[in-house]
């Protein structure tokens, strides 16, 4: 709202180009960097996805949509997309649900909150590589969780998600959630603490149960926090590449491949830049498909309100 307002404010001034001139001059290098590095390189990549570039970029080898046809005919790519969708949906839902539940429990001012907060936040300090390796060991049937529980006498206990191609993504998801949920919880907890105490009193006087207050009142009030959290989760979903490399290397077989890994391996191992670029362009496209309607609703829709 304030954004839109200030936008209108400047529009009314006749010399809006000259306003804050020093600040504008100072930001020129960053603007140029952004244009050249982000926009320029993106366009370069998209162009080369229509070429038959191999180890080195070959702008003259125009092949049209061949790379894309091959991409969508490749099983590994399709599996990668499926995996990312599964991981994305799982990570989104579970991070939010678990993160919010933990935050709500901590918000009840339980004893030792600081201790719990630290424990939950700790995994976030680790890199995905460390997390991936740690969970590779934990989920290893021979000396991880399974053997520990079996050692306690539950001989029939079986928990071996990483070695079954049907469950491997859930094994990855567990590691991803373990690492990321604590931070989501902290951000949501901060958002919860930002809610006026009086709102809680008001709902108690009105006899609204706590769970309903969370869902109907508190969560809608935490919209800004949730946008932040969604961005954080989304970046975690993109970063799953590291986790896969460390935890499963894409295996068993190709059961836990992800698009980013396909891109990297096509570009550098297969020495087929064109194919890698085509895949990365598809990734960009899918991000845009999510982002553009959202941005339209978020920024385009607001103007009408004011």
């Amino acid at each position: 709202m304030s954004l839109a307002n200030s936008g209108q404010g400047t529009a009314r001034r006749p010399n809006k180009l000259l306003r804050n001139l020093p600040a504008k001059i100072a930001s020129i290098p960053m603007v140029l960097t952004a244009l050249v590095v982000f926009v320029g390189c993106t366009l370069w990549t998209i162009y080369h996805s229509f070429t038959g570039s191999r180890l080195l970029p070959a702008p003259e080898k125009w092949v049209g949509l061949d790379q894309y046809e091959r991409l969508w005919g490749t099983r590994r790519w399709l599996v990668s997309i499926e995996n990312l969708a599964l991981y994305g949906a799982g990570s989104l839902i579970f991070s939010l649900v678990i993160g919010f539940t933990l935050a709500a429990l901590l918000d009840r001012k339980i004893r030792g909150e600081a201790v719990f907060r630290t424990i939950f936040l700790y995994p976030f300090a680790l890199s995905f590589i460390v997390t991936g390796l740690a969970w590779q060991w934990i989920l290893n049937p021979d000396f991880g969780l399974q053997s520990v529980v079996q050692g306690w006498g539950w001989a029939g206990f079986e928990f071996n998600p990483l070695n079954d191609r049907n469950t491997v993504m859930y094994g990855v998801l567990i590691a991803g959630l373990w690492q990321g949920t604590g931070f989501i919880m902290i951000v949501l907890l901060a958002g919860l603490r930002g809610i006026d105490e009086d709102i809680w009193k008001a709902t108690r006087i009105e006899g609204i149960p706590a769970w309903k207050t969370y869902i109907v009142v508190i969560i809608p009030m935490m919209r800004a926090t949730f946008v932040t959290v969604l961005v954080l989760i989304a970046s975690g979903i993109i970063k799953v590449y590291d986790l896969i490399v460390a935890q499963t290397s894409g295996g068993p077989g190709i059961a836990s491949e992800v698009p980013a890994k396909y891109v990297i391996e096509r570009m550098f191992q297969s020495q087929n830049l064109g194919q890698g670029f085509a895949a990365s362009t598809m990734m960009l496209l899918s991000v845009l498909i999510v982002l553009i309607p959202w941005a339209y609703l978020e920024f385009g829709g607001k103007k009408k309100h004011d």
């Binding site: 180890l55 099983r75 295996g251 190709i254 191992q269 020495q271 194919q275």
Partner: protein, 439 residues
């Protein structure tokens, strides 16, 4: 990098952490060099030109590291120059992208390993590699390098750009005597017997076939099965001529059936790395492993004796042949003539008789020279040398497929090998499609 050492410590480290820190030192050195260009040139006039050459490779397992040290020793002792080891851990598929990006990114090392064949093809085409033709003619490489196809793989438009250093053949089946003794069986003498005895091995609690799950392993094993089951001619039609109709045909259908069988026999081998799979054969947990002759290095380090503790069957004991895969060294172009001279000396050293013998004995591979005496070679190497001498050789996959096609096939094989529900017919169809598009 001329004699001004600038009190840098001796850089003989071969461990990986050392190798990584070296890169930075080298960059620093280069910077210093340009800053001190004047003084350097002045000093150089009176001194012997000695250079430090950074050599990158992915030989990090026990046998491999021991072998590459032989090269370093020969270079350090035989010339004025110093070998700076730049080992990159994680195998070829990890190391190659790093090497390529350093070369294309303007920070080339002085020499680097590739599998000879097509991996560095585009780098050569782009003029990033040193032309070795003059040296090759002066030393008469064409006269002693055997088989000649090795040098062909280093040649582009009549110019030579790499030094083949060894021959590695994929075509071996390694069998554990202990595993068969435990099961009360005779050690099989070919693939058919191996398949027939597999059920008894399983009964004895053994895994018949050890198979690591790195993609190149399953793809390589499939290539071995293809030559053994379909025969060299059919294999050549598919691999060299890229004839998709043959790949989809009945001859190859048998290969895929065999692969499906092998998959069944290996389903209990829960290892990733090839040397761990080899370890299963060494300690008798597994009956056998289809693996290249580099596996021999592991047997040697474990103190096992060919013919007593293990048996090697070239071409799975069906068609005795050797594929001429192997390693080669390329020398990325530098703008410094002193370095270039040192690079040529290194090339020459690697092909010298003594270095070839020392290196290949440790590595378990065959030398690229037909004129060296390998009296010290073991049983398996001798078998290989004999096959080589008879000329029963085929080019390797690296020599026939581009990296692009090779990784596509690897993806397919690793999927097939891990997904027991994927039928032989299904995988054959996709395989034929890839061959149809292959280059």
């Amino acid at each position: 990098m001329i004699v001004v050492r600038l009190a840098l410590e001796e850089r003989g480290q071969s461990d990986i952490s050392g190798a990584f820190s070296l890169h930075r030192e080298d960059i620093d050195m280069r910077l210093l060099r340009s800053v001190l260009a004047g003084t350097t040139a002045f000093c150089a006039a009176g001194a012997v030109a000695a250079a430090e050459l950074e050599v990158t490779h992915w030989w990090t397992s026990g046998g491999e590291a021991a072998a590459v040290t032989e090269f370093a020793k020969a270079f350090n002792e035989g010339t004025e120059h110093t070998w700076v080891d730049g080992a990159i851990a994680g195998g070829g598929s990890t190391a190659r992208p790093i090497m390529v990006s350093r070369i294309t990114g303007g920070d080339p090392m002085h020499a680097t390993q590739f599998n000879h064949g097509r991996q560095a093809e585009e780098l050569v085409e782009a003029g990033l590699m040193l032309d070795l033709t003059d040296l090759a003619e002066a030393e008469g490489w064409t006269d002693f390098i055997h088989p000649a196809s090795l040098l062909d793989s280093c040649t582009l438009d009549g110019r030579i750009y790499c030094v083949p250093v060894n021959i590695h053949s994929w075509q071996w089946l390694w069998l554990s005597h202990k595993a068969y003794e435990d099961a009360g069986l005779d050690v099989p003498s070919n693939w058919g017997e191996f398949i027939d005895t597999a059920p008894q091995l399983i009964e004895a609690g053994k895994v018949p076939l050890a198979m690591g799950q790195q993609p190149w392993q399953t793809a390589g094993a499939f290539g071995v099965l293809a030559t053994a089951i379909a025969g060299v001619d059919t294999w050549a039609k598919v691999t060299i001529d890229k004839d998709a109709s043959v790949a989809a045909g009945p001859e190859y259908a048998k290969v895929f059936q065999a692969a499906a069988q092998a998959r069944e026999l290996s389903k209990d081998s829960n290892v990733q790395d090839w040397n761990l799979a080899t370890a299963m054969v060494i300690n008798g947990q597994a009956g056998g492993q289809i693996m290249g002759d580099w596996a021999q290095g592991e047997f040697a380090i474990a103190g096992k004796v060919a013919g007593e503790d293990y048996t090697c069957l070239p071409g799975l004991g069906v068609h005795e042949l050797i594929s001429t895969a192997g390693d080669a060294f390329y020398f990325p172009k530098q703008d410094d003539p002193e370095i270039e001279a040192a690079q040529l000396e290194l090339a020459s050293t690697m092909l010298s008789k003594t270095a070839q013998v020392a290196f290949n004995l440790k590595k378990g591979s065959l030398p690229v020279r037909g004129d060296v005496d390998l009296a010290a070679a073991n049983d398996c190497m001798k078998k290989g040398l004999a096959i080589l001498a008879e000329g029963n050789i085929i080019p390797s996959g690296d020599q026939s497929f581009s990296a692009d096609t090779a990784t596509q096939l690897e993806d397919l094989m690793v999927e097939f090998w891990n997904d027991l529900s994927m039928s032989a017919e299904e995988v054959q169809e996709i395989y034929a499609d890839i061959i149809a598009d292959a280059d």
